[in-house]
């Protein structure tokens, strides 16, 4: 067996080693680029270019944009309601009162165990009609005072638009998740904060309002921001109730034109464009809170 003469590492000239480390540094720098964002931006530009130059794509976009108002309105209103519901339920989840605790926990467990699409159907087609029946009963009970043909007797489920039902359903569904976010935030504040506030004579609610919640909410802002993004995406579910958001417009357009590829690709990119912007916003918020957190401990 003879010795093979392989090129040895020392054989490489010095200047080439310098070149390689420069290359290495270049590769390192490239590796840190947000390539995913560039890829999305590239395809986004491609689609935008199509939307402006191709007649088909501009027709699709014009159609989709008819629904953008409904999508944004649904998301904003349902999210605001969900925050309110979630905060109340979250406070219930940390309550010492067993009745309040159990009601809040029942709500959270039921909501988190049923798919949002199913909740949407149940609320739109079961709960709302039942509630309207109740309203009619109440109207009949009040007949001696208000007259037999009062407003409550005449109320019908059809009086509640599907947009309203969708918003209620999304708010109740997301409220269950946000309740847990708020609960986690409240419980992450050290016990000493509540004790210090109580020892100064504050009531439980005063301590919550002035000491615990301001710190807890600051801490849960990033997850709440992510929930907002998720809500924007899940607002597409309202299309199953025929509410004309961008998804519903896309379905109608595709069904009529058979342009499934172009329509649904455009729809996907429209959502992606909105969620990317929002997630960059959440990232910025997170960084700001972190730097403030360092300043304030």
């Amino acid at each position: 067996m003879s010795l093979t003469t392989r090129p040895q590492p020392e054989a490489i000239p010095r200047d080439s080693a310098v070149d390689r480390s420069a290359l290495g540094r270049f590769v390192d720098r490239m590796a840190r680029w947000p390539w995913w964002l560039l890829i999305i931006a590239f395809f986004g530009a491609l689609i935008a270019w199509n939307a402006m130059t191709s007649e088909l794509y501009s027709a699709i976009f014009n159609r989709l944009l008819l629904g953008i108002g409904v999508t944004i309105f649904t998301t904003l209103v349902a999210y605001s309601l969900a925050i309110a519901v979630g905060l109340i339920a979250g406070l219930g989840r940390v309550s010492q009162n067993p009745v309040i605790y159990n009601i809040a926990t029942l709500y959270v467990q039921v909501i988190r165990g049923v798919p949002i699409l199913v909740q949407l159907l149940v609320i739109a087609f079961v709960i709302v009609p039942i509630v309207m029946d109740g309203v009619n009963l109440l109207g009949n009970a009040l007949a001696p005072i208000w007259g037999a043909d009062n407003l409550l007797v005449r109320a019908k489920p059809q009086d509640v638009p599907f947009l309203t039902r969708s918003i209620i359903a999304l708010a109740i569904a997301y409220g269950g998740f946000q309740a847990e976010t708020f609960r986690a935030g409240i419980q992450s504040i050290s016990k000493g904060q509540m004790e210090a506030a109580r020892s100064l004579g504050m009531s439980y609610w005063q301590a919550m309002r002035y000491v615990i919640l301001p710190q807890a909410i600051r801490r849960v802002l990033p997850p709440l921001g992510n929930d907002f993004i998720a809500m924007l995406k899940d607002s597409s579910l309202v299309s199953v109730l025929g509410v004309r958001d961008i998804t519903q417009e896309a379905r109608l357009y595709a069904a009529a034109s058979f342009r499934f590829l172009e329509t649904y690709t455009s729809l996907a990119f429209l959502y992606l464009a909105m969620t990317i912007v929002l997630s960059l916003g959440v990232k910025w918020l997170e960084q700001r809170l972190n730097s403030e957190g360092r300043a304030q401990g």
């Binding site: 210090a196 020892s199 100064l200």
Partner: protein, 247 residues
């Protein structure tokens, strides 16, 4: 209320945590304007006694009167008592999202219903008293431990309490910061404040205490004025503890 009536009366206090009896039949009387220092090994129930006085712990049995008010489970009584009893914690427990000034004014405004200007005046007086008026607009995280603890004392004092409770106020501090906090506490003791202090600082106990209470395993083992207690402890357990601590 008579002047000679004691400020705090504790009768047969028992506090049970699960199977652990942290406080076992403790009776104690604290006179107006007196300084009581509770010492003893860790886990002896000293902090629990202190926390029962303002009902941060609910007693399992026994009775407590604070300034003539019977502490029951009635929430109204509890909040009334707490507003009169200041408490300083081992971990300071300042509110990190508020400035020093806001820390000291918050409860004044919310509980005492003082105006913003009045609360600020009182806060600045108390911050001056503890020696850090210049930090009024800083956030707690920008202060040293000793400074934070002095703000915590100012925060409690701003409520004009009749009693101050100190739960190991120097135990979480770096050694060089202990003195600045003890100096504030000494000044407070001399001003005639009724104080109950749980501490391992025997120097403070000697200088400031009117009464030393030595606890072990949930009971008061020995009690007396510091000159008697430190010179000649009667109980074997107290003697052993002092030997450990004083070396």
């Amino acid at each position: 209320m008579q002047r000679d009536e004691p400020m705090i009366v504790i009768k047969h206090l028992v506090k049970q945590f699960g199977s652990l009896r942290a406080v076992n039949d403790v009776s104690l009387t604290v006179g107006r304007g007196s300084v009581t220092v509770i010492i003893g090994p860790s886990g002896s129930g000293k902090s629990t006694v202190l926390r029962c006085i303002n009902h941060l712990e609910t007693p399992t049995s026994g009775e407590i009167w604070v300034d003539g008010i019977h502490l029951t489970h009635d929430a109204k009584h509890i909040n009334a008592v707490r507003a009169e009893v200041g408490m300083v914690f081992q971990q300071f427990n300042l509110f990190p999202h508020l400035t020093v000034l806001e820390n000291v004014t918050l409860a004044q405004r919310v509980v005492r219903k003082r105006s913003e200007a009045e609360a600020r005046d009182i806060a600045m007086q108390q911050l001056t008293r503890v020696g850090i008026p210049e930090k009024a607009n800083a956030y707690p995280s920008q202060l040293s431990g000793g400074q934070q603890q002095r703000v915590a004392i100012a925060r409690a004092l701003a409520m004009n309490p009749k009693i101050m409770l100190f739960d190991e106020p120097t135990s979480a501090l770096d050694p060089e910061m202990i003195k600045e906090v003890l100096d504030v506490m000494l000044e407070l003791a001399r001003s005639g404040m009724t104080m109950v202090v749980v501490t391992h600082e025997m120097g403070f106990a000697r200088k400031a205490a009117d009464e030393i209470v030595f606890m072990d395993r949930g009971r008061i083992v020995e009690q007396g004025p510091p000159e008697v207690f430190f010179a000649n402890p009667r109980e074997e357990r107290a003697r052993a503890f002092l030997n450990q601590i004083l070396r």
